[in-house]
């Protein structure tokens, strides 16, 4: 018996572009290759099946271990050039730096207004950049920032002792519990992973609160607006609007028959009359008359706003619209979200409809709103994209048949596997 989905099982190994190298322990001997742009890390298959007690094998293993040991023993040294130092502030569990240099600070840290600055509104406030716990930790780990413990009268050079990487973890994650418990290991894993890939990451307003009420950007634009640009568009709008609503056709259903005699050839009309069951229409949602605080569950809230690497529009003062919104979920402590939890989360993200003239399956996959869930277990992150799909809006019977090859695009139904998750 041949299963229909048998082709899903890889026969000859996955395609090269599907391999995620970070998925398996890689041989540290190839670390040097990564800094050298033209060299490539070999795609898997370089490992052995089992130990067979040969000298070759144990030598290779020893070499790998030694390479790993050397790589891990790297010392974080600060050259005088570009040397940046910051001071830990225990009360707020943040750190501050005066006029830090370097391109990284164009996308990190904040100068706080006088009333919010934990050190008060003194004359240095404008030069003082406050770094959030995850930002300090990331920079310390990266070897970019030299963080000092608060200075103490007896320190010889009125500067505190340097904070080690271990100290930074202990304070910025370990001690978060005694502050507001907002930065967890899960959140930091996602933050640092994305930063290492080059994304710009900022805390979302719903970081540790339900966040502000969803504004008009979270709902489809009101239909009047579509009238504006003129006749051509009206015709277009007219068509899409009435295709969605059976409208006056409903009257004809008052008789016993769904399809009246006489209507034989027009399949589209027949199908339209058979469409009796209501469906969820993501475009039919409206902004509630009074603003409500989102009813999101604390386990499922947008945690970070993400901008793509090299985004030209991003500025710290005016970050603009993020490219992605990510909700970090603890894989060990959380079960699959309920419809209510997911719906409440979906209410807080902006309306982002698919292209009007896109292909049917692509439109369904894209959805009318979307959010990315980052599921974390022991430092391992899987990204899932959840879309608010409008299946009912896409009428199969209105689809133009494109002859041969038209079937192609539909190969992967079921909403597809959204974002390229890391777990397979």
């Amino acid at each position: 018996m041949a299963d229909a989905d048998e082709h899903v099982i890889p026969r000859s190994g996955p395609l090269p572009e599907d391999i995620d190298l970070s998925e398996e322990t890689q041989d540290f001997r190839f670390l040097a290759a990564i800094s050298n742009e033209d060299a490539k890390i070999p795609k898997r298959g370089e490992k052995d099946f089992e130990p067979h007690a040969t000298a070759l094998q144990s030598n290779t293993l020893a070499a790998s271990r030694q390479a790993m040991h050397n790589a891990l023993s790297f010392q974080r040294v600060h050259q005088p050039k570009g040397y940046t130092t910051a001071t830990y502030h225990p009360e707020s569990n943040m750190a501050y730096a005066y006029n830090p240099k370097g391109p990284l600070f164009a996308r990190m840290g904040q100068v706080l207004p006088g009333k919010d600055d934990p050190l008060g509104d003194d004359e240095l406030r404008g030069n003082r950049l406050w770094l959030l716990p995850e930002e300090v930790l990331y920079l310390v780990e990266r070897g970019t920032l030299d963080v000092r413990w608060p200075a103490d009268d007896e320190d010889e050079d009125d500067r505190g002792l340097p904070m080690s990487v271990q100290g930074a973890y202990a304070m910025f994650i370990g001690d978060e519990e005694s502050h507001n418990h907002a930065l967890t290991f899960e959140r930091y894993s996602v933050y640092s992973g994305l930063k290492r890939m080059g994304y710009t990451v900022q805390r979302a307003p719903s970081w540790d609160t339900p966040g502000p009420p969803s504004g008009s950007e979270c709902y489809p634009p009101l239909p009047q607006r579509t009238w504006q640009p003129g006749l051509f568009n009206i015709g277009h709008w007219w068509k899409t609007w009435f295709a969605g609503i059976p409208g006056d056709l409903a009257k004809e259903h008052s008789s016993d028959q769904l399809v009246q005699p006489g209507l034989y050839r027009s399949y589209a009309d027949i199908y339209r009359r058979l469409a009796l069951i209501d469906y969820y229409d993501p475009m039919a949602r409206h902004l509630p008359s009074e603003a409500e605080t989102p009813s999101t569950d604390a386990g499922f809230r947008v945690t970070y706003h993400i901008w793509k690497p090299g985004s030209q529009t991003f500025k710290k003062s005016a970050p603009g619209i993020p490219d992605f919104r990510i909700a970090v979920v603890d894989g060990r402590a959380t079960s699959v979200p309920t419809l209510e939890q997911l719906g409440a989360l979906m209410d807080t993200v902006p309306y982002a409809p698919p292209k009007e003239d896109g292909q049917l399956y692509q439109k369904v996959r894209h959805g009318y709103k979307n959010v990315i869930l980052a599921i974390v277990d022991q430092g391992v992150v899987s990204y899932l994209r959840i879309g608010d799909a409008g299946f009912g809006r896409e009428k199969l019977y209105e689809r133009k048949v494109r002859g041969f090859g038209g079937k192609r695009g539909g190969g992967r139904g079921g909403g597809g596997r959204g974002g390229r998750g890391r777990g397979r």
Partner: protein, 363 residues
């Protein structure tokens, strides 16, 4: 044999606990438990020498609770509340003056060594770059810094200009890499420094440039020590093992699948968390650096009922990725079934665990 001469770590060694996680920061300990106790853990930190990638990660090493528990049960490790230790040590004047001074002196020594190395390296590199410049005969490309002494003010003013220079400098750098020497250099430096690297000259820097450097400078010339961010806080902090390592209240909490973990570990398997394959553990026949995993493991209670569909799903997944799907649990009551080799050889701690391997027939 080329077994790396892993320096022995004095036992028991501390495992640092914070926010309910178990971490290790000391490279020697990480290498040591890998070689001696078959415990690999998961590296979760970034590598400063290659900061823009996720394939190779660095310290800290996160241990599964099972791994921490096993090490504690063997009596070779103990758990330290790291946040508390740091607060006491660095903020509550827990460190004595003597310790602080020793710590600062050792950092200064390390910084001095690093500065000396860096100076030598930039010398070499400058020579190489100059040679190239002479060959290409394009004197406009020479960084301004090379010709005039650096000062803080000029640095600042140049901010923008220097940045555009970065792009021009890069090709020179990549050329330099072809002789293999620079690869190592690169690992020594932060990448943003690297962009300026050919410009750094060996002349002692203006004392106003870095307050730390000037304050800690020592008489007698030579390079100024660089500031160093140590990886661990031990020293200056010192961890003392609890008086009785076996007090069971101190042992880390573990999930119910712990007996299976312990059993597989006693059979010399390396076990890693299994999220990526949707199981509890992945079992490797040797160090995951060298070997592919053989089994996807799930622990069960002996009398636990579970869906047949779990068997089918696990079996299919395991077969699909060329691994065995393995379930196992501890035999409740009685000590029979010795013949299946379920009892672990050493330690006598594995209990009566039996394991079963399921393969999808796919007929």
């Amino acid at each position: 044999m080329a077994i790396p001469d892993t320096a022995a770590v004095p036992e028991p060694f501390p495992i640092f606990k914070l926010a309910h996680r178990f971490l290790l920061y000391d490279t020697t300990t990480i290498t040591y438990i890998r070689a001696k106790y078959n415990i690999a853990g998961v590296l979760i930190g970034g590598l400063p020498q290659a900061p823009q990638q996720n394939v190779f990660l660095g310290v800290p090493l996160e241990l599964m609770p099972e791994e921490a528990r096993l090490l504690c049960e063997k009596g070779v490790a103990y758990v330290v509340d790291d946040a508390k230790a740091h607060k006491q040590g660095f903020m509550g004047r827990g460190l004595g003056d003597e310790e602080r001074r020793a710590f600062q002196a050792s950092l200064r020594k390390q910084g001095l060594a690093a500065a000396g190395q860096a100076e030598k390296k930039t010398e070499d590199r400058k020579k190489a770059a100059l040679k190239k410049k002479v060959e290409s005969d394009d004197w406009n490309d020479i960084p301004e810094d090379m010709l005039r002494p650096t000062s803080r003010a000029s640095n600042k003013r140049k901010g923008k200009g220097a940045k555009s220079k970065e792009e021009e400098e890069t090709p020179v750098e990549t050329n330099g890499e072809s002789d293999g020497k620079v690869t190592a250099d690169r690992s020594q430096q932060d990448d943003e420094d690297l962009l300026f690297a050919p410009a750094t000259n060996g002349v002692p820097l203006n004392p106003t440039l870095s307050r730390a450097a000037s304050n800690t400078s020592i008489a007698g010339g030579g390079p100024e020590p660089f500031a160093v961010t140590p990886t661990t806080s031990y020293p200056p902090l010192a961890a003392t093992p609890p008086p009785s390592t076996f007090s069971s209240t101190e042992l880390p909490d573990v999930p119910p699948s712990y007996p299976l973990y312990k059993h597989m570990h006693a059979k010399d398997y390396f076990l890693a968390p299994g999220l990526r394959f949707g199981c509890q553990y992945m079992a490797y026949p040797g160090d995951p650096l060298r070997f592919h995993s053989h089994f996807l493991c799930n622990g069960m209670d002996w009398d636990q009922e579970f869906d047949l569909l779990d068997l089918v799903g696990g079996g299919r997944l395991g077969t699909g990725v060329k691994k065995g799907f393995l379930i196992g649990g501890e035999v409740k009551g009685g000590s029979g079934d010795q013949d299946v080799g379920a009892t672990s050889a050493g330690e006598g701690g594995g209990g009566n665990v039996r394991t079963f391997c399921i393969e999808w027939g796919g007929m």
